[in-house]
């Protein structure tokens, strides 16, 4: 029941917002919808905590330890993003970067996007998972080009084409998966239900599934932003409105990785080997290294942080590929803390670039003196994302590193190199932006404090104290993904 409310709220809110349009109270309705959605998410989490995994809507939806925390995370980050976007988008409107129609479109599509991601996470049907993923892409394509500048249109076109092509490969993979499943489970919708598939995964034809995994890896890997399929990501993140960058980076990449991991479990069950994991480790490690070195060359602040997202998704993919209880636990935790830290960074980056009316890092200076919350928020955000203790990212990266030393010692230096270079690059770029004197062109402005503070507090909390329910879910999910 909670599950249907969770899915229904954003859908309903998007319809309402499409009618409300650019009226003065539209952002408030957006926030209200997201708050209700988060409440439903908490309700669902509570339900799962008390009763364990459950099916709903005639086996069409399901919720277990793996997807419940991602669903709550999605509704939480979308809520804080809605709060952040209220002031941010109002200011963009005043600056004339977005028009009347644009605002109507922005609010309606924001909610459709949230709906698509939640559907992705909660559906039991692997085919519907694909459809929802495509819907999530389509709903954000025109948001990336919202400003209608030549670069924004170019970025959106790239996003549309590359993700469209990528996701088409995933559909082919899904067809192959269904082909194998049909032999065991019989025809009809039941053969694509994940709960059924995972029960019989050892009976699925291994040759077909290993072929399917290649397509699924390329398809969903494009959406995760893994190198060398990552070309769309920095463009889409840097050219779109900042709230959209925050949800793309913090949520969509997670959801795509979730889809990939779900498929990997089936393939592993069928083949009984570690091939799928090896492929994921390869992509992950390559992403970490390429992204870390690309960080050094960036001039645009949002572009730099999108490369950092590629790096972190690489770390999580690597962890899931490595497998084993510690690495999987680390991967799950990493998805959570990266999402919180990265969206918080994008909030501060959005404020910083509005204060300076530019995204060029060379022109952003003196943030701490200009606006302490933005300055310190960015500083602590970067420290968190670079893996400094006591933030949560340190915990997850430490776990993953420990597991690597144990299970794949030869890869440890590469992993360390990537993490080290990323840390150095981020610190070198961010330090001059936050420190120093306030430049003459910096405009003071009131900012949304709550989202940044909330996110950073959570990242810190998870770093020093892991709540019992989260620990329990992660342990159950580790069992599930074995």
């Amino acid at each position: 029941m909670m599950l249907l409310i969770l899915l229904g709220v954003p859908l309903f809110a998007s319809v309402v917002l499409a009618f409300v349009g650019d009226r003065r109270y539209a952002p408030e309705i957006n926030i209200l919808g997201s708050v209700l959605n988060f409440a439903a998410g908490l309700g669902l989490a509570f339900q799962v905590y008390l009763q364990g995994p459950s099916l709903a809507g005639g086996k069409f939806f399901f919720v277990d330890a793996f997807n419940v925390y991602l669903a709550v995370l999605t509704s939480f980050v979308s809520m804080t993003t809605a709060v952040f976007s209220r002031r941010y988008m109002r200011r963009e409107r005043e600056h004339g970067r977005v028009g009347h129609l644009g605002m109507r479109f922005y609010h309606a599509m924001f909610q459709v996007f949230i709906f698509a991601m939640l559907l992705c996470l909660l559906t039991n049907n692997v085919g519907v998972l694909w459809i929802a993923m495509e819907l999530a892409t389509l709903s954000t394509v025109l948001l990336v080009s919202l400003y209608r500048t030549p670069t924004a249109i170019e970025a959106a076109w790239k996003y549309f084409i590359l993700c469209g092509v990528g996701i088409a490969q995933a559909l082919f993979g899904t067809v192959l998966l269904y082909f194998a499943a049909e032999k065991v489970l019989g025809e009809g919708g039941d053969a694509l239900l994940w709960t059924n598939l995972s029960l019989v995964s050892d009976k699925l034809e291994p040759t077909v599934l290993s072929l399917a995994f290649v397509f699924l890896m390329v398809g969903y890997g494009t959406k995760v932003g893994l190198v060398p399929l990552h070309n769309w990501l920095p463009d889409a993140h840097s050219e779109g409105p900042t709230p959209i960058s925050a949800v793309l980076s913090g949520l969509l990449l997670n959801v795509a990785l979730y889809a990939l991991v779900r498929c990997k479990v089936l393939v592993d069950g069928s083949t009984g080997t570690h091939h799928a994991g090896d492929i994921m480790m390869g992509f992950g490690l390559l992403s970490i290294l390429v992204a870390a070195f690309s960080l050094l060359r960036q001039k645009d602040i949002k572009r730099m942080f999108s490369y950092s997202s590629i790096e972190h998704m690489g770390i999580a993919t690597f962890a899931f590929g490595l497998g084993g209880p510690i690495a999987t636990f680390g991967g799950l935790l990493h998805m959570l803390v990266h999402s919180l830290a990265k969206s918080s960074i994008f909030f501060t980056v959005g404020h910083a670039s509005q204060m300076h009316r530019t995204q060029e890092m060379d022109r952003i200076r003196g943030l701490i003196k200009g606006n302490p919350l933005v300055g310190w928020g960015l500083m602590f955000g970067v420290m968190a994302i670079a893996g400094m203790p006591p933030f949560g990212v340190f915990t997850s990266e430490f776990l993953i590193l420990t597991a690597t030393i144990k299970d794949a010692p030869l890869l440890t230096p590469f992993l360390l190199l990537g993490l080290g270079v990323a840390f150095a690059a981020l610190y070198r770029k961010v330090q001059p932006m936050v420190a120093g004197e306030v430049p003459s062109y910096q405009k003071p402005m009131t900012v949304a404090n709550l989202p940044v503070l909330l996110h950073m507090a959570l990242v810190l909390l998870i770093g020093v104290y892991m709540p019992h329910f989260l620990n329990q879910w992660f342990h159950t999910a580790v069992e599930l993904l074995k």
Binding site: G127, P150, I161, V165, L171, T207
Partner: protein, 221 residues
Amino acid sequence: MNLAVAAQIISFLAALVLLCAFGMLVQRRMYGLIHLFAWQGLFLSISTAVVGFVAGKHHLYISSLLTLSLKVFLLPYILHVLIQRLKIQKEVETVVNVPMTMLIGIALVIFSYHLTAPVREISTLVTRSVLAIALATVMIGLLMMITRRHAVTQIIGFLAMENGLFFAATSATYGMPLVVELGVALDVLIAAFIFGIFFFHIHTTFDSLDVEQMARLKEGD
């Protein structure tokens, strides 16, 4: 209709689908491309109906009708209108190195047959040999998107890929569950509206639909 006849009909239609894909690869005129795309959709739709008839799967008739209305009528119509509105009907695109593109296309077909060999071995369906052609259609669509520089051509390549995927779904498995097929069709429809909007945006911003001009976003040094 017995199975052997049906298998032959389906193979014949598959060959026509592949032929259309090759035709699109080298077609230089916009209208010609759209017509080829519509023909491909028609063959696909007939083949889906035949599979549905032979296998006794009535939901395939719905998929067949869906393909017919969406890919033979609606999408080509939308593309026609867009081309007229944007006044690019006379535009003839230069295709880089036709023989080379054809050769790569042929290589892709062979590669597809090689890749799907294990699947064909274990399949018992009359349509199993079609899977390789479906994959080849997907790959040729991809090749078309890479070699062409016009936004409209890229989209037609994208839609041809979608045709190939649909063909795979009906041929490898006698159709995906209906809810999945309806969802995929809905996604294609939304995509159609989005690229329609995009054409206008690109046209007004860059004054042409040549995607070569979109090269501003690069890694700075």
